[in-house]
Symmetry: none
Subunit: 185 residues, 4 copies
Amino acid sequence: MYWVEALRRDKEEVRERIIKAAMRVFSTMGYFQAPASLIAKEASVSKGLLFWYFRSKDELILEVAKRSLPIDILKKCLKDGREGADLLYCIGRGYLEKYQDIIHRNLILHTLSIRTLYPQVEENLRDMCEDYTRRVAVRAFGDDSPISRVKIRTFFGSLLCYTLRPPKDIPVDDYLDMLIKVLMK
Amino acid sequence: MYWVEALRRDKEEVRERIIKAAMRVFSTMGYFQAPASLIAKEASVSKGLLFWYFRSKDELILEVAKRSLPIDILKKCLKDGREGADLLYCIGRGYLEKYQDIIHRNLILHTLSIRTLYPQVEENLRDMCEDYTRRVAVRAFGDDSPISRVKIRTFFGSLLCYTLRPPKDIPVDDYLDMLIKVLMK
Amino acid sequence: MYWVEALRRDKEEVRERIIKAAMRVFSTMGYFQAPASLIAKEASVSKGLLFWYFRSKDELILEVAKRSLPIDILKKCLKDGREGADLLYCIGRGYLEKYQDIIHRNLILHTLSIRTLYPQVEENLRDMCEDYTRRVAVRAFGDDSPISRVKIRTFFGSLLCYTLRPPKDIPVDDYLDMLIKVLMK
Amino acid sequence: MYWVEALRRDKEEVRERIIKAAMRVFSTMGYFQAPASLIAKEASVSKGLLFWYFRSKDELILEVAKRSLPIDILKKCLKDGREGADLLYCIGRGYLEKYQDIIHRNLILHTLSIRTLYPQVEENLRDMCEDYTRRVAVRAFGDDSPISRVKIRTFFGSLLCYTLRPPKDIPVDDYLDMLIKVLMK
DNA sequence: CATGAATGAGCCTTCATTCAT
DNA sequence: AATGAATGAAGGCTCATTCAT
């Protein structure tokens, strides 16, 4: 039945609209300063509907928090089968591009900040910092020895630090070049 | 007059007790989830008194936020006149020691998260990421060329990333050794 | 036409199912604590359909409230043409049987509690406490003198009090025996 | 210190004012239909203050529910050392007087209605219907045999039934006379 | 300085009811 | 008839802040 599909698409569309609105609002106000009512208004739905799609504000926070992390980028670059510097470039570019957007740039910090309050966020982070770090290390440097993992962490940390406050006289691409050169030496 | 001094010390002592209590409470609950009343109770003072020492919760937040950043460490290591790897070691050790404490570890992320809401926090951060970065670069590598600054940022980012989630099988000292080795190559 | 009958039976069946579900839910949660959505779920119909059968929640409340009173029992025993102690036994047995069911036991109190809010409930109660009391008095004691009516009220009150909290060491039948003996003396 | 006493009296006075207001509002609207804000307004205090004196609406409900039962009357008449018909008269008069007030008359039914939702109310009721019933039986009839307890329950039930809907042509005192005569025969 | 009662704005959430499909 | 998405009005409760004492 066509219309069933249409309805499902509709529902997904509304849900997505709410999430996008939440990302904008959370980004500027923070997860706890942003009232659900404002998100609803930003998404052009009633407050009641927001709670139809998300049982609680926390559920919405979790959804946004998940999207705010760079896990998607790690996943993609690893799936593409990249190796060595190529892998780092893939990740670095993806990362810098994602967090060029001020919305994501703010969100990731809010998310890091609430990690101790939301076990699920903590777990996502654990995944990223341990599992993925290890896999990236293996693919980038051939092993997951401490030194390799230190480098990967350093890589991530540097990217985070860049997006947190991009130095105006160092273009994105240059930064990435230099960073990877330092780490691959 | 002695008693004036004593009173001032008293006042300072209470003020300090409130700040310390606030750090504990903010650390676990976040700046906006933590009610002022809880901080007062934690500091064993009345809610009214808290607002006597700090005109508003925001004022208290700002005080705590300031202390949560590693500026004090940068300042100290720079004042000590250290150079090269020695400077990095000084900073690294100070940093890792400060953020060994879970209270500071949580607080710094909360602080980064609210930077867009509090111009003063933003400014502190700007200071750290631009001014101090540059000065550290000069003292560590002899110049503040882009590559040097990239390294310093990378250094800070790596430390942040370490404290955010210390890998259990890499001791603090080893981590710092490896990190500095990578950067000084 | 058969199918018309079938449909009507269907409609009646659904309506009845909703009422029964409402009785269960109202019984445990009370009229105002019980959300219409829960009743719908309990009746395995959609929320929308519930409001198709009952224009408002109040309408449903009224229907349930009516059934929760022992009017049906009074009616039946009076119609059967019983008299004297026989009438009281008929009512007493019917009453105790109906309110053996915890659902009705709870409901009747909820109903008494909302009598001032719903004129219709108030009226049902008036009927029961005045009209029926009088008729039962006449049939049980031969007149509706004050003393007779006091006895009938006392009879009803005692039954209510029994069901409200049945003493575990006094069986239903014994209780009724003793009660009627006291009143008929 | 005088003013400490004064303050305590003040606090008690406000608390009492809130409870009294709650009794009025709960009485006419029911426990769950009555918004806390209305109670606050009725008590001439802010909504916030209501929740300063009572941690939650439920706490207030419990306080009111407790006062709505006739336990105080039973206690008093028992303590006075009354016996036989005299005890029943004491209880009956106290009861009828208390529930002459429409506020209490409504409240007791609301309270009975929520007994399954609030364990504490249930317990109060258990006390009244079992413990006290037994003690009254012993003092009124010399023993707590089933027949004596049935009479006491019948006594209470009749009083409840009277207040629930006082017959206009039977004065309070006459009703009580007749009731006690029936039971003491 | 110190207390804690008092205020009121605002937030999350629930829920009766409507309506497009 | 039937569904469930959509709405909006409350409601309970929290909390920063003030103020009388």
